[in-house]
Symmetry: C2
Subunit: 601 residues, 2 copies
């Protein structure tokens, strides 16, 4: 860890340590809520600092550069009045943690539940999440992944429009609310993954440009100029994000970060920013004795991101595998357009079981270029798979979950396909009871022009689709409200059985060593493209598990394993799971999965 | 090697194999010089091909897309009428090679002489170069490096404004002239390095955009949009450059390529284009049994470019080390502005002897960021050093060579400093006789507006320098002519002795195993910053060589090696080299180098 000041306000021995980076300013001051103004002192590399007892925890403040308008702190920990308001000083030491006995499990033990705080509960707060921890523990997941909580404009947003990476969304419950939730998770034996966005800032309330060269025109991203990770002054921008990582782990006891779309982090320098984050996290772990994981969303199929430093990798612990999702959904009947166009169904699903990446150095017709490299030596615990997530649900015009797109039986098959994989499974909130509500794209910009632009952009994006229906208005409160989970469905017919099926799947995955051990070498697939069946065999020690998946609409003969003494561990067609009941011996129902166990192999 | 067609025209069994990539065209045809037009046939990935006896070697031709204007071939081998004229078909098999006995030496044996074909000889042609091969052999260099020869606008250009990477500049002698020169070099035991530009196209005569997406707006470079190495359709752009590499090696018997400014090649894909070039060259070498080297100009100080594939490197054989040049020249008295501002003189020179990279992960005040990584495990033969080159001479407003900027004694010291390094030395044409003519920036654009813009740009660039003098007009023929070498100086007083000194230096470097063996581990430096002296010790087997360099203006005591029995191998102050003569025993003259040999260490 370098000795640059931590950006923002920290409290030590009843004094505030204030630091802000403004390399082009000639003068910098902090403006207190009572109107008093204190000059900051210039330091190396463009930092301005002050150690003062005049700012107290809970006080509002802003910074003033060269006599300009007072602005919120780029490293604000709290924005009680939203993105345009004053920042509020927070003493991160004031929370009383009760999780001293907590030990973050290895990634291999992770079973992830992705949730959006605003729509997970009726309250839409961290407290609302905390109320359901007992439920999640019973479900069997071992980690929740919280969609981004960095302060965004208004109260309704997926979180990817955050503009204060250090501030926890005020409407969710702020820093204290998040700390309370993490503490409660640890009491329930649940790890916490936080989704963080280091590749762009949202379009409203981004005051970074007034402070310094946080962005560079060297690279284009879908959101405009790239964050400056390798241009002049990048050391300080890198420092800003590295300290942000360390804050979540050290001060909020977060167990793992999920770094959004790291392919949009452009860094041609000799040390990639992710590698530097890794080194800093390693140092922190050595200091505290606690374990933390770094997970990335990555659309490059390049194992350099997840390989360890010894292999010149950036050392990320795991990455999302969207290609498994795409292959699975096309196999299940999803229309092959947009990003699904590159996926051929069941052969690609089998490839993903075997190779994680489908495009691992082969030509991608969708991208019009050869894409990816092989990741054959990376353990299964480095790959996170799912049959739906916020993105692939919410990026549909109507935000339909699988429950609205696939039959009840197919939903169970898809869940099974994820759960028997040699990778880390992730659920998207509500899928375990086939929540019928959509998860739509919603915002609450306070700038009316921007709100209008987003609304129009969304309409234009879907102009050529679903002509019979209209894209929901992202700015409308109803779009947000209709995306909330309906917890009262939990005990309703169908939903109850789906939940039971998920619980059974999770229990089986944990109990059978052949499934729980994420050894990619002990794995075989047999695909029948005509019959649309896939047999996945995994083994560990003396145990072998055969997972037979029938994605077709017809019954199929079970043609394996000819000489093994197998017993059925789970059959998704069972009436217990609201299915049609088992097929005759030697057959598998349409759209179903059977898991067999054998100890004779 | 993939099975995509080789771009351009190749002859096989008296038929022309024609291929052009134009993925967005609906129709493509070749227009022959007699006005006849033949349709090309569409192939996968946007190629258009034709196999025909109608086009003969020597015939002119152009391509016509969708009925538009006929345009020259992007992979033209010959542009007899310049960049805007028709292309001419060339049969690359027609040259009678006489170099069957030639073996390209290992890089460790390279001693490079960089030359610009247009200004090296009065004729300004490949034949003009060939005439001096006896001279170069006597000088002792083992390789010439030819500045880019890809067809550029007009007849006067450094070569970095090339727009036909496959066509050899017509005014130099074209493809046949180059082949003849290479053959002659090999007869003289001299290897040939060709400078190639894969990071941009020149501003005039670039028809690439009419054919396909050769460029991408994803990245900015100093020349505008970057060449497309990782965006949609990049496979075909990569193929275009890979085949270009293979052509130089296979069809022109080029021994090594020097790839211009590879830091401006932007490729975030899972397989870097340089790595793919390496793989293709390896395949070619396995086929032919010939050896070829890949050298890069690199301003990133990142050894991933030169590390082998086993270390996940891109596998380039060697790179230029501009930082050695900068450190050396600041030590010799160069003013610390522009790119020299980051260099502190003698300590940095010593660092470069030890570490190759000066900025190897430390903060660079000039770049305002931490820069580089360590390259401690790379052999000395991977680094090319020099005290001047075309860039650092020609980028000065007046293009002065060292001869105009440093004393005669200092020039000898600088030459010595390069020649005793554990790296590969490179000379810039004429420095070996202290050529007083400048090497200025010159162009000969045929577009008057562009010529004017370049003229104005050059003036503006130097507006704040040397206010007493004017930037020479790049478009003026005198600027070009005054940059030519004056071979008649060779026997003149001063020049003759400088040449003798270079010959002696080169001979000593080759003869002493401690110098010839580029082992970076057997090396020690002792710096005295106050006295401005540097002692470089290198050893091999039982031999040790001590190189004492005095960059100061005063005599300095020789305080080493106290107990070793050393003999002086070379003293740059000797009258033989037009120096002031040796200092008294135990002293070294100002601005001089003494090389001692000892076999007792």
């Amino acid at each position: 860890m370098n000795n640059k000041p931590t950006p923002g306000v920290r409290f030590k021995e009843n004094r505030a340590e204030i630091a802000v980076w403004a390399p082009h300013a000639k003068k910098a001051a902090i403006v207190l809520n009572d109107g008093n103004m204190l000059d900051l002192n210039p330091k190396d590399h463009g930092y301005w600092v002050l150690n003062t007892p005049a700012l107290r925890p809970g006080d509002g403040y802003r910074f003033k550069l060269d006599g300009g308008e007072p602005l919120p702190d780029p490293a604000s920990l709290s924005q009680p009045d939203g993105v345009h308001g004053a920042s509020r000083a927070v003493d991160l030491h004031q929370f009383n943690w009760t999780d001293t006995g907590w030990q973050n499990p290895d990634l291999e033990q992770y079973l992830i539940y992705e949730l959006h705080t605003g729509t997970f509960s009726q309250a839409g707060t961290f407290d609302g999440v905390a109320e359901k921890l007992g439920y999640l523990k019973d479900l069997g997941v071992t980690a929740i992944e919280i969609m981004p909580v960095a302060q965004f404009p208004g109260g309704r947003n997926w979180g990817y429009d955050g503009v204060f990476p250090y501030a926890v969304q005020n409407t969710y419950g702020g820093a204290r609310g998040l700390a309370k939730l993490v503490d409660a998770c640890h009491q329930h034996g649940i790890a916490v993954i936080l989704d963080v966005v280091y590749n762009h800032f949202g379009p409203e309330g981004n005051y970074m440009g007034s402070y310094g060269p946080y962005f560079t025109g060297k690279y284009h991203t879908p959101w405009g100029d790239a964050l400056n990770f390798d241009d002049a002054w990048c050391d300080e921008v890198r420092h800003y994000f590295i300290r942000n990582v360390l804050m979540w782990f050290r001060d909020f006891h977060i167990d793992a970060l999920r770094l959004d779309a790291v392919h949009a982090i452009k860094d041609f320098g000799a040390k990639h920013i992710l590698k530097e984050i890794r080194e800093n996290v390693d140092e922190l772990m050595a200091q505290t004795g606690r374990k933390h994981h770094l997970i990335v969303e990555l659309d490059l199929n390049d194992p350099i991101f997840i390989d360890p430093a010894e292999k010149r990798g950036y050392g990320m612990d795991a990455q999302w595998i969207d290609e498994f999702h795409h292959a699975l959904r096309v196999t299940a009947g999803e229309k092959r357009d947009g990003y699904y166009s590159d996926f051929e169904g069941i052969a690609h699903l089998a490839k993903s079981y075997n190779s994680a990446y489908v495009y691992d150095g082969i030509y991608s017709p969708g991208r019009l270029k050869t894409f990816g490299a092989k990741a054959n030596d990376n353990p299964g615990s480095q790959f996170i798979v799912f049959s739906q997530n916020h993105d692939h649900v919410g990026n549909r015009m109507l935000g339909e979950r699988s429950s609205k797109l696939f039959s009840f039986e197919m939903q169970k098959l898809m869940a099974g396909a994820v759960m028997v994989s040699p990778f880390i499974p992730m659920l998207f909130m509500g899928e375990e009871w086939a929540e019928p509500n959509p998860f739509q794209y919603f915002v609450s910009h306070t700038d009316p022009e921007l709100a209008d632009a987003v609304r129009k952009g969304r309409k234009a994006e879907f102009a050529s689709f679903h002509t019979e229906e209209e894209a929901p208005d992202p700015q409308a409160v109803e779009t947000f409200n209709s995306s909330k989970l309906q917890w009262d469905l939990l005990n309703k017919e169908g939903h109850r059985q789906m939940l039971g099926f998920y619980q059974a799947l999770i229990r089986i995955r944990k109990q059978l060593p052949a499934l729980a051990t994420l050894n990619r070498k002990n794995l075989k697939t047999i695909v029948n493209e005509t019959e649309k069946t896939l047999l996945l065999q995994r083994w560990h020690g003396g145990q072998s598990v055969f997972c037979l998946m029938n994605f077709s609409d017809g019954e199929r003969p079970v043609s394996f394993p000819e000489n093994a003494a197998c017993s059925i561990v789970l059959n998704s067609a069972d009436t217990e799971w609201n299915g049609p009941g088992r097929a005759a011996a030697g057959y598998i129902r349409p759209q179903s999965i059977i898991i067999y166990e054998s100890s004779n192999v």
